[in-house]
């Protein structure tokens, strides 16, 4: 199993190398990039909003249950915002995006592979990696980052609404408690996580789409592999980033 994992990692790096080399050598396809940006980005906005809203709300209810025993409801806004931004928010929203953006792109690229489109483009003297894959890679990574940040902002509102609902704190209290907890380091952590999760999702969905073999069944398998690999990668990256940030924070304290 360990050997297979190393092989997979090696293949991913190899693919990334090929992709970047092709992207550097050939013209950038603005048109394809913008089309994909609207396909994967704009269409995922409702999903991201819903996910963000409810993630914030769920965490607010959870934190409220824990804080009410201590009579510390005044800090609910801060604790909820910080907790959602730093940890639960990025992961849950990224899971949603992996299911939507990642699955869509790998299915699309996989279908291109099994219907010979890459070979056809290559026969016309065009590099399919730079022409078709790289614009998608960039579109997925950029829109994932933007969507994640958007979802996180929405999650603050979700938390605020839910807090008013369960009677923890009114919106004013909620908002005023935020700055004490959601410090610069918390926001930085959320941003770092968003950027890295976005890049990971783009890499994983493009590579698996590119590697598809074996007809429409193969496309299904590629989508499934994309989902699994994205989620494991997201959780492990999440852990590593949190761990490094914690270390840095201790160091600076």
């Amino acid at each position: 199993m360990f050997k297979r994992l190393l092989e997979l990692l090696g293949n991913h790096f190899y693919f990334l190398g090929d992709l970047l080399r092709a992207a550097r050598r050939y013209r950038f396809e603005w048109e394809e990039f913008l089309t994909q940006l609207s396909h994967v980005g704009v269409r995922s906005l409702p999903t991201t909003c819903t996910a963000g809203l409810f993630t914030g709300a769920i965490m607010a209810v959870q934190f409220h249950m824990q804080l009410k025993d201590f009579g510390a409801e005044a800090v609910l806004g801060g604790l909820n915002t910080s907790g959602t931004l730093r940890e639960v928010g990025p992961v849950l929203i990224a899971f949603m995006l992996a299911g939507k953006v990642g699955a869509y792109t790998s299915a699309e690229l996989g279908t291109m592979r099994v219907t010979d489109q890459f070979t056809a483009v290559e026969c016309l003297g065009i590099n399919p990696l730079s022409y078709l894959v790289f614009p998608r890679f960039l579109a997925v990574s950029i829109s994932s980052v933007v969507l994640l940040i958007f979802g996180l902002v929405i999650s603050i509102f979700g938390g605020m609404i839910a807090a008013a609902f369960v009677g923890g704190s009114n919106p004013q209290q909620f908002l005023s408690a935020i700055p004490r907890f959601a410090t610069l380091s918390g926001v930085l952590l959320a941003l770092t996580k968003s950027v890295i999760f976005g890049a990971l999702m783009a890499q994983i969905c493009c590579a698996n789409g590119w590697w598809t073999t074996g007809g429409s069944v193969g496309v299904g398998k590629a989508v499934r592999r994309t989902a699994t690999q994205s989620m494991v990668a997201i959780v492990i990256a999440d852990f590593s980033i949190s761990w490094i940030f914690n270390g840095l924070q201790r160091y600076f304290e």
Binding site: H39, T119, L124, G215
Partner: protein
């Protein structure tokens, strides 16, 4: 002129082509006939350098394959264009962009002219005006296939290679595509891979039958009609034995 000189190719234990030699003269319409999955598509992929032969060489005008020289490969691919079995259009790009895909370094005006000429030739002239707003999913399968043909014509290659151009089509559309092949074949050298004997007899200048990795029979349509070779008789009966129903798996997928 294209010539295959004792070319062999196998995938693992499976021998696809063994020691095949034949020639395509300039201006000729040559049909390569055989059952499904016996290496007809592999022959085409060898010809454009997507696959490399295990032994033997392929000469296309002055260029010789296999080669590691990217420049030679690019030249071969400019000269011989492969029309794939599926339309292989890019769904996210407009009809115009798809038709322009192979054109290099021309002004927009020239490109529009080339594309409209190509679309006219495949009988889709009425779509030219709107071609930037039409996307492949809006078209029927036969129309998509014709657009992919127009894409190849716009490159203006000397040789056009067709991989199973009418497989999975209804008889009317198939006839129309064959008429197009015949028309285009009057000014370009064509190599068609197919298992459709009836249309081949109408369209081809010369037909080669392959089976078991070797050439079994060849000749002009009228010669083949008189041939006594059992495989030829079988194809002429219109009866196809062998694995039509095997799933699309094998050399084409490699």
């Amino acid at each position: 002129m294209i010539s295959f000189d004792s070319v062999s190719k196998s995938f693992g234990d499976r021998k696809i082509l063994s020691n095949i030699s034949f020639e395509i003269k300039s201006g000729e319409k040559l049909f390569l006939l055989g059952r499904s999955g016996i290496g007809k598509s592999v022959t085409l992929k060898l010809l454009v350098g997507i696959l490399n032969p295990d032994a033997g060489k392929i000469q296309i005008d002055k260029n010789i394959l296999p080669t590691t020289d990217e420049g030679v490969l690019a030249q071969v691919r400019r000269n011989c264009s492969l029309v794939f079995q599926l339309p292989t259009l890019i769904d996210s790009r407009s009809l115009f962009d798809n038709a322009c895909l192979g054109i290099r370094g021309l002004s927009l005006k020239d490109r529009i002219q080339k594309v409209s000429a190509a679309l006219e030739e495949v009988g889709l002239g009425h779509l030219t005006e709107n071609s930037s707003n039409i996307f492949p999913p809006h078209l029927s399968y036969g129309e998509q296939k014709r657009v992919s043909l127009a894409r190849t014509l716009a490159v203006d290659p000397a040789y056009i290679l067709y991989d199973e151009p009418t497989t999975g089509m209804d008889p009317q559309t198939a006839r129309m595509i064959h008429k197009l092949i015949s028309k285009i074949g009057n000014r370009k050298t064509s190599l068609v891979v197919s298992h459709d004997m009836r249309n081949a007899l109408e369209t081809a200048d010369r037909i080669i039958l392959i089976d078991g990795g070797e050439i079994q029979d060849s000749g002009t349509p009228s010669e083949l009609l008189k041939s006594r070779h059992p495989l030829t008789r079988e194809f002429l009966k219109g009866v196809q034995i062998g694995p039509h129903h095997t799933p699309h798996k094998g050399p084409q997928d490699v």
